[in-house]
């Protein structure tokens, strides 16, 4: 039996936990675990399988080396094989296993995509947070930069940047580490910075006015700490969502660049390059071009599906919060 006491000591027994009389009724503490939706399931499965295969390709018996010749009757053939038991995706013009090239290509493609995205998040996120939190002059500078970046046609920018870097590389030995791959990472990352900065800035500006941020400031926290501990954790849902969707766009962009001849160095396969190299054989050996297309498509789709789901899930949480 609960007692209402009128004793004054704050430590009196029954007032110690006045709301503990009931179990955690009213607010759900654990969600019922339900099967994830089909889209996410598919996307996640595909991506995990792909990543594992790409990482362990060297040790997996069913994946040949990308430059290994597929022998038919002891002889290397040209486009002899369509998709079949010998080579799952068939072979291309130099008797390489298309499937193997796709898997090894996945390495590069995914690397480029992920690094570019991370670059964009780190640089763009930082700019956005700083602009949104401090506003004023900082905001204007950042906004000008992002507006410029957003108004330039991205493809043009990419082409110019990569070509320029090519030129600089010749003159400056200290840029030796800058392989084509990293040029692409930098370029794509730079392009991703602007939209991310915009989103992070908007979110930061709205979070900044929330009372828990005000509370943190009133506790004497320095701006750095407020940003790091209060604002950043609340940005994570938005950033994650954009990251996944952005990743898919960047991967497709890499493919486009490779298609235009601005891809990574010779010898390193990427899907874009594969598509480009084999597109004129599409009548006779369609598999050499189509399968990399399919891989690209499925990967982009998977990231999109996960990104969508994240958006919905975090949106609801945000609204509830």
């Amino acid at each position: 039996m609960t007692i209402i006491t009128t004793t004054t000591a704050a430590s009196s027994e029954s007032e110690a936990d006045p709301e503990g009389a009931l179990p955690e009724g009213g607010t759900p503490t654990k969600r019922k675990v339900t099967m994830p939706k089909f889209g996410v399931l598919f996307g996640a499965t595909f991506l995990i399988a792909l990543t594992l295969m790409a990482i362990f390709a060297d040790w997996l018996p069913f994946i040949r080396y990308p430059d290994a010749k597929v022998l038919v009757d002891g002889k290397a053939g040209r486009y002899k094989l369509g998709p079949g038991t010998q080579a799952w995706f068939g072979t291309d013009g130099i008797s390489n296993d298309v499937f193997a090239k796709c898997i090894y290509g996945a390495r590069t493609t995914l690397q480029v995509g992920v690094f570019a995205t991370v670059f964009g998040i780190v640089v763009g996120g930082f700019m956005g947070m700083v602009a949104g939190y401090f506003r004023g002059k900082v905001d204007r500078v950042v906004s000008i930069i992002t507006d410029c970046l957003l108004s330039l046609p991205p493809l043009l920018l990419a082409i110019i940047l990569i070509n320029r870097l090519d030129d600089y590389k010749e003159d400056a030995p200290w840029l030796g580490w800058l392989s084509r791959k990293w040029q692409i990472v930098l370029t794509l990352g730079l392009l991703f910075t602007a939209p991310l900065a915009r989103i992070v800035r908007a979110q930061t500006m709205s979070l900044r006015e929330r009372e828990f941020v005000l509370a943190a400031r009133s506790l004497g926290a320095k701006p750095g700490r407020v940003i790091y501990r209060e604002i950043l954790p609340n940005l994570v849902p938005a950033i994650l969502t954009v990251a996944f969707t952005g990743l898919s766009i960047l991967i497709a962009a890499e493919g486009a660049l490779a298609f235009l001849g601005l891809g990574v160095e010779i010898g390193t396969p990427t899907w874009g390059k594969l598509i480009d190299e084999n597109r004129n054989k599409i009548d006779t050996a369609w598999w050499a071009t189509i399968f990399p297309c399919i891989m690209l498509f499925l990967t982009v789709l998977s990231f999109n599906l996960i990104g969508d789901r994240l958006a919905r899930r975090f949106d609801i949480r945000q609204a509830g919060v």
């Binding site: 929330r210 009372e211 828990f212 506790l219 501990r229 919060v321």
Partner: protein, 337 residues
Amino acid sequence: MAGTGTAHLRDPNEALLRIENLVVEFPVGRTGLKVNAVSGISLDVLKGETLGLVGESGCGKSTTGRAIMQLPRPTSGSVLFEGNELTKMSGDSMREARTRMQMIFQDPISSLNPRRKVRQIVMEPLSIWKRGTAAERDQKVDALLEQVGIDPQRAAESQAHQFSGGQCQRISIARSLVLDPSLIICDEPVSALDVSVQAQVLNLLEDLKREYGLTLIFIAHDLAEVKNISDRVAVMYLGKICEVAPSDMLYRNPMHHYTSVLLNSIPVPDPEIAITKTAIEGEPPSPVLPPPGCRFNPRCPAAQDICRMDEPQLREIDPGHFVACHFPMTVTPVSLN
């Protein structure tokens, strides 16, 4: 209604907090107009006192609370806290001063970071200022959580949205106490809570005030709530103070016409009394273009010409009871100026 009246201020050496001629203005977009949120008010709070600040929306009470905390800094005026002039303090010393005064906000759930565990939130102030050893911090936080009626174990595992409004408000209170402040500003702390939970939190505030010797500033629009918890009450209207008096005196003998209107508008849970009330006409004007003279004059039943021209100053009508009105409601006639 006075901006510049300081007659009601007491000995500066005894006051924990003393505001003089506080002005807070916000620009309205790019129109060049200003919102005159607070137009020159003065208040003081003695150590251990609870000052109630009451008024309707737009009167500037919340803005006053935040201006005291310098969040953001007021447009002009002086805020003396424990002898230090806050408006002139640099960033670092201001941050230091903030540990001595804390604020509790209206929306309980929004005052807590939704992504962090609640116990961490309460621990945060100690981490910021690196007070005590890890063990000491743990002890302090757990003790405070228990004191406000929250299970520390549950607090360590759960986030804000898993608690009820009343519990969140208690957590906020615990957080505000962890640095041993001397002043706590409560900005509508129970307005967003259910009726039966409000009393719990109000009682808790009273208990804690007594135990820790706190000084409180209680900001609310509910006069009954404010009267219950405060020693002294200041009534605000459109950025100015109408009346300042000890709480019982204010209720028994309101002298400003606005205070009287406010008291009459409050719905009383007693059908015998309730039926005879009549309401006042009109609504508060916009703080962008406040009326000249006494700001209440357009709606005041006793307004005369002088009220439209001359802004009244706060003056003492009865001992301890200050009113800013040319024609206050008193039993005995009072001469002008």
